[in-house]
């Protein structure tokens, strides 16, 4: 058994168009490394240069925002569901660190 990851439309160019991909790993960080081995480039859209989750990508494990579960250290187990959603954000002010995912 593995973890199912729901991929948003904008990132499906990395998954050959697939809406859901499977991966394995004990933590979110490990899961992304596993997935990136089959879908190269996907991880780079989720993780910023500093090695942290990109500020404007929302990731959920079983409907919980991983920001409240330890971010990339969030524990995951077989059968969990991971959802990726690009944040919907913007505004009239220029915010720092808003380069695209």
């Amino acid at each position: 058994m593995a973890v199912q990851v729901r991929v948003p439309t904008i990132l499906r160019s990395y998954t050959g168009g697939s809406k859901v991909v499977e991966g394995v790993g004990d933590t979110l960080a490990a899961l992304f490394i596993d997935i990136d081995s089959r879908f190269p480039g996907l991880r780079g859209r989720l993780i910023a240069d500093a090695g942290e989750l990109h500020r404007f990508v929302n990731i959920y494990v079983n409907d919980e925002d991983v920001r409240f579960l330890g971010g990339l250290d969030a524990k995951i187990a077989d059968g969990d569901n991971v959802t990726i959603l690009p944040a919907v954000a913007g505004g009239c002010a220029v915010m720092p660190a808003t380069s695209g995912v």
């Binding site: 948003p8 439309t9 904008i10 404007f56 929302n58 959920y60 409907d63 925002d65 920001r67 959802t83 959603l85 690009p86 944040a87 919907v88 954000a89 913007g90 505004g91 009239c92 002010a93 220029v94 915010m95 808003t98 380069s99 695209g100 995912v101």
Partner: protein, 134 residues
């Protein structure tokens, strides 16, 4: 071109006015591939800011699930600018991930006059489009 029902157009303006001077934001969902904005969904601005907006992450998950279940997509993604013109900022452009969506900007800077404009934002290129209210 964006074709939008008068009731939906007015709901967006009412929301923008109500949240002024903070930015208001939301979506109008419609059947996937239809280009018909039908279901108005006002979203909470988690930033509660006059210069920035961000959908609340848990609300976004719930609304995106609903759309998925009903085979809908966000046809319109709207937000307000409260002191500047209804034109996408650099921040708006860099964070626009939905190439299929109409990005609607409403400005509430003038209480007498509403500015309501629509754009496509694809690969950081902004193209304004006509708005037809039906």
């Amino acid at each position: 071109m964006l074709r939008i029902d008068r009731a939906v157009y007015e709901a967006i303006i009412t929301h923008a006015r109500r949240d002024h001077p903070d930015e208001a934001c939301g979506i109008v969902a419609g059947p996937a591939g239809s280009d018909r904005p039908e279901r108005f969904v006002a979203m909470e601005n988690a930033e509660r800011s006059p210069t920035f907006y961000r959908f609340d992450s848990m609300e976004q998950l719930r609304v995106w699930r609903e759309m998925d279940d009903q085979d809908e997509e966000p046809i319109v993604i709207y937000h307000s600018h409260t002191a500047t013109e209804a034109y996408p900022s650099r921040t708006d452009i860099s964070l626009a991930w939905e190439p299929g969506a109409h990005y609607v900007l409403a400005s509430t800077r003038d209480p007498e006059r509403i500015e309501f404009r629509s754009y496509r934002i694809i690969d950081a290129v902004v193209t304004e489009e006509p708005v037809e209210i039906v």
